[in-house]
């Protein structure tokens, strides 16, 4: 999938202080009927964000004007459940480039990395610090430095290193995907089959 190259971003963040945010919440199944990859951001967190009649729920963070930015901060076990890549598409399409949590579900993490959405894992303690900083000042900014694998709370200067597989890091920095890589391997794959 085509996506923008990732290097360093400096932006505010939107808090979602719940655990086990599953992919059915991120994008409910009834919005998976498209045959193209567009417009999924409109239905991101649909049932948490809107009433049944379509009016926005005022207490949901995405509807709170004080929160903005390209970072989504979620509680532990973010992205559990279904393999729908639409969850990563919806978060990216809405405008987020980074999701921070203390723990991600495997399939979601892989899907995010395949779509230019960076999953950043921090310790539970550091996650609490991020939530506290946003609560203190919703305009607080954070720096996500992919080359140096560092997440920094600008206001306090506190930072946390994060892990990323060197291959996926290279892909994200250069906007590459695995399909290019695999297609170039065709001969080796054919040899394996023989």
């Amino acid at each position: 999938m085509a996506y923008d190259k990732f290097s360093v971003i400096n932006t505010s963040a939107v808090p979602l202080p719940f655990e086990n945010v599953d992919t059915d919440q991120i994008i409910p199944a009834r919005f998976l009927k498209a045959v193209e990859r567009k417009g999924f951001g409109d239905n991101l967190f649909r049932d948490w964000r809107y009433e049944n009649d379509g009016s926005p729920k005022a207490d949901f963070p995405l509807n709170n004007a004080k929160y903005s930015g390209k970072i989504l901060v979620g509680g532990k076990n973010f992205g559990s459940g279904s393999s729908r890549e639409h969850a990563a598409w919806a978060i990216y399409d809405y405008g987020f480039r980074v999701v921070v949590s203390s723990f991600f579900a495997d399939i979601f993490k892989g899907n995010a990395l395949n779509n230019g959405l960076l999953p950043v894992v921090v310790s539970p303690e550091f996650l609490e610090k991020i939530f506290a900083q946003i609560e203190k000042d919703a305009d607080s900014t954070f720096e996500v430095d992919l080359p140096n694998q560092k997440f920094t709370i600008t206001a306090t200067g506190e930072s946390s290193d994060f892990e990323i597989n060197p291959y996926k890091k290279h892909c994200l920095q250069n906007g590459l995907d695995d399909i290019d890589y695999l297609v170039e391997m065709k001969e080796q794959i054919a040899e394996f089959e023989a």
């Binding site: 999938m1 202080p17 719940f18 655990e19 086990n20 599953d22 059915d24 919440q25 409910p28 199944a29 009834r30 998976l32 009927k33 498209a34 045959v35 193209e36 990859r37 049932d47 049944n52 509680g75 532990k76 076990n77 559990s80 459940g81 279904s82 393999s83 729908r84 890549e85 639409h86 990563a88 723990f103 579900a105 495997d106 399939i107 892989g110 899907n111 395949n114 779509n115 609490e128 597989n165 060197p166 291959y167 996926k168 995907d177 695995d178 399909i179 890589y181 695999l182 297609v183 391997m185 065709k186 080796q188 794959i189 394996f192 089959e193």
Partner: protein, 466 residues
Amino acid sequence: MTAKTLFDKIWDAHVVKQVEGGPNVLYIDRHFIHEVTSPVAFLGLKNRGLKVYRPDQTTATPDHNVPTINQHMSIKDELSRNQVDMLKKNCDENGIVYHGLGTEGHGVVHIIGPEMGLTQPGMTIVCGDSHTSTHGAFGAIAFGIGTSEVEMVLASQCIMQPKPKKMRITVNGTLDKGVTAKDIALYIISKISTSGGTGHFIEYAGSAITSLSMEGRMTLCNLSIESGARGGMIAPDETTFNYVKGRQFAPKGEDWDKAMEKWAELKSDEDAVFDTEYTFDAADIEPMITYGTNPGMGIGVSQTIPTSEGLSGTDKTTYQKSLQYMGYNEGDSMKGKPVDFVFLGSCTNGRIEDFREFAAFVKGKKKADNVTAWLVPGSKQVQNQIEAEGLVPILEEAGFELRQPGCSACLAMNDDKIPTGKYSVSTSNRNFEGRQGPGARTLLASPLTAAAAAVSGVIADPREMM
């Protein structure tokens, strides 16, 4: 030679290349596709000017979106119809076998694969659906993938994956009457949580596991993903080989003998090391039911809802939010709670054995008037067998009707939606908020516990009614 687990043996035999500082390029033997997670992958291929590399290793069927009544008619919902039509078109253009609505091969993708003998021991199997873990019951490495990965398989028959860690879950002993594979799974998830298996691939072992039928093993492996594990598997044995033998795509004659030689090797070496191990006793497991909004929130049907005492921070708020959604209080007893809907079906419990158990339970009883029941076979073959075994009159006599195959109310992409606020005892796999329809409240349970709820009109212990 280092001792290997069953998982190691199959994985290592499928690694085409180890990318330096990166994942493995893993060869995929069998690929299943459905209408929801494949269209964008086909579009991606088209945009790159690529063709499907090995069309004979992919099998397609529409299941997520399809109606479960009047399947002979055109699908009413335009978006659903478009997705189903698009799947057929993509298959036709690329030479992929497609099992359309109403045909003998149609059904939920994880039910038809094993039925046709496409699922075999030792294989790597993927599908753009997290419950692909089902196929692990045959001693295969099977797991769900995203749409980008569906495109990778279509383009190259490979995906790029880091090798997961290995976990073994051993369940020894004998299951009590009324306790099924579904209860084993919900019990395990209630103990290790919905993230306990993350980063791992599970091997299930022990006497309570090997005594399960293939249907039961599929139910158990199906729910592996609900513990966060990518998949679960069980070493193949006589039960497995007897199930596979003679099926449409199973090896025949000399090929069968050769396959059996290979399959006999498919077990973990005695001194193989697992990264994580759990052991449970079958005697501790009772019929399970969930009371919250993730599959880890399960208890024995005779128990009371745990309190939030001892929880703090987001743990506590998440727990309370969950009970509030369900309309339950801490300390409530589950028995006697009202039920509005009962759903029997899905890739978790939509196989013939599930319908046999449900029918045997409700035989001579009557469905409660306050309950709407949806009985949805997992495939056309399951439907045929239900009819051939004479289960339909038993179900009808008790006030139940059979619908047509599909994923149905498990994820409510079609019209089978549970209304807002209503309680549904469901044999499916997820009780997430809104999973069965916006505002729907799902209680996961076995076919027997669902049958007990259907005839009682409230949550009931099936053991007291058998």
